[in-house]
């Protein structure tokens, strides 16, 4: 792992004084490799490494640490900071219905996460309703209805084929009896202008309290392209990273956070309804570094 590689590269002697430029160059080469292996975007890595260089060179080596340990500490702190520092909670509407809109690429975990998030809200004392606006994937509405039922979450899927009309209808209906609504949408490509426009129209129709980008944590270099386009269209207030039970390093977390500035609030850690956890930047930092 990285910590062992740094110990090897920079030696095991506890220094007295400052990190030498040679130490920093050697150490950051290992860090760059670790980040690329972890799927952090190449351009994000370049930028991150140059920031680190400035922080590391001449930094005081705490006499209790080896140069390798010192570099790791600086990297981990910087990474944790970039990932948001600490957990940020879901926004709640100041009054009336809180609407959460789940968006993202095909197969990222939106439908599953819709129910998980509703379960989290129920656990917070809220009364959530879920609804599917996916009128195109075969069996999508059934999938949400069945999964919600298994989790004891109310589900209302409007009839008809017009996504915007359906969105308006369910948002109005939800106000009677619920204080939050989680909307599942169809998976789509960020480069599909027609479907991205549709999502834009849904957003303008329902004014979500939070638009949440649901992203597969094993996404590679493409994560920034996806996040950038969704963010440009004001379709990302926060991010949920799914399938983190896969032991993936999850470098996409750093990439999307850097590109959008939006916080990752939750992570998916399994297929069952209770497998949603709060995102901890420090734990993610360690995971990315491997």
């Amino acid at each position: 792992n990285l910590s062992e590689k740094l110990q090897k590269a920079l030696g095991l002697f506890r220094n007295r004084g400052r990190l030498s430029e040679a130490d920093v160059k050697k150490g950051l080469r290992e860090v760059k490799l670790a980040l690329l292996e972890a799927d952090v975007n190449y351009l994000v890595v370049k930028d991150f490494i140059s920031r680190l260089e400035q922080r590391c060179v001449g930094s005081d080596v705490l006499t209790s640490l080896t140069p390798g340990q010192q570099v790791i500490k600086i990297v981990r702190d910087e990474l944790t900071d970039l990932l948001g520092g600490q957990w940020q909670s879901l926004s709640i509407a100041e009054r009336g219905l809180s609407v959460y809109m789940m968006v993202g690429l095909q197969g990222s975990g939106k439908t599953t996460t819709t129910v998980k998030l509703a379960g989290y809200l129920a656990g917070q004392g809220k009364k959530p309703l879920v609804s599917s606006l996916d009128y195109q994937r075969p069996g999508a509405r059934e999938q949400l209805a069945q999964f919600a039922q298994g989790a004891g979450i109310d589900c209302h899927n409007p009839e008809g084929e017009d996504v915007i009309a359906g969105a308006k209808q369910v948002t109005a209906a939800a106000r009677a009896g619920y204080d939050c609504l989680v909307l599942d949408t169809a998976g789509r490509l960020h480069v599909d202008d027609e479907l991205m426009d549709e999502l834009d129209q849904v957003r303008q129709a329902v004014h979500p309290t939070e638009a949440i980008l649901v992203l597969d944590s094993m996404t590679g270099q493409d994560a920034v392209n996806v996040a950038e386009v969704f963010a440009k269209r004001s379709l990302v207030d926060s991010i949920i990273l799914t399938k983190l039970d896969s032991d993936t390093r999850g470098g996409a977390a750093l990439s999307v956070r850097s590109i959008t500035g939006c916080p990752v609030k939750f992570i998916g850690t399994g297929e069952k309804q209770d497998k949603l956890e709060k995102f901890h930047p420090d734990r993610m930092a360690s995971q990315i570094l491997g």
Binding site: E37, G107, G150, V191, M218, D222, N225, V226
Partner: protein, 261 residues
Amino acid sequence: KSSQGGNLQEQLEEVLLLADVGPKTTTEIIEKISAAGQLDMEMLRDQLVATLSRHQPPILKGPVILVGPNGSGKTTTVAKLGHLLSRQGKKVFVIGADTFRAAADSQLEKWCKRLELNHFIGSRGADPASVVYDGLQSTAARQADVVLCDTAGRLQSNVNLMRELEKIVRVARKCWDGNITVLMVLDGGTGQSALEQVKIYRQFVCPEGLIVTKLDGTAKGGVVVALAAELGMPVCYLGVGEGADDLVPFDPEIFVNSILK
């Protein structure tokens, strides 16, 4: 002159890294073509095509079991592949063995009806190995040229689910007189995790080829170069959309051109 060379090397590395080829395979490929004395785009193109052409994908005959991580596109690919093979004049039978996920049965059923594919879908909660067994024992399966079998998505890190899949494949092999093929369906946006995924899947069920999906977005799918170089895993088809016709046979030249674009 040397700084110019350094710049070109960096440019080529950047192209490969941004395409998800990964740092290890990128370094190997760049070193290989530098050692041959010619660090340029044409050499790189040739080396990539060679890597991707080295291992032949399997011929699809009899049972073909599609496996892979959650959400990669297995169910949709079963439908597309069934459609493609039917249009080639083959008799296709589809077995739905995802008995775990909500509405998995309904999703595949709707696809098969839409595409007029002969099918047997296991119901939710049934034992998946039994569904495969029953499906393969049927007359329809015995009379088909290809039997496509869909399975539930699973992460390689879940040992119990990998053991379940191992059992499904073992049961299929035992009850079929002839070869069965396992294909792994990977999301084209996957990064370096694909290496671990394929390694572990190989230990449990020996996939002979890959189908890489969702390449109609901006993801390049370059990790398949690493999978070919490190694991000798060939690619059979590419998924390029959500429609029935959006499955194309893998062509290394076309694929490499899109990586280097």
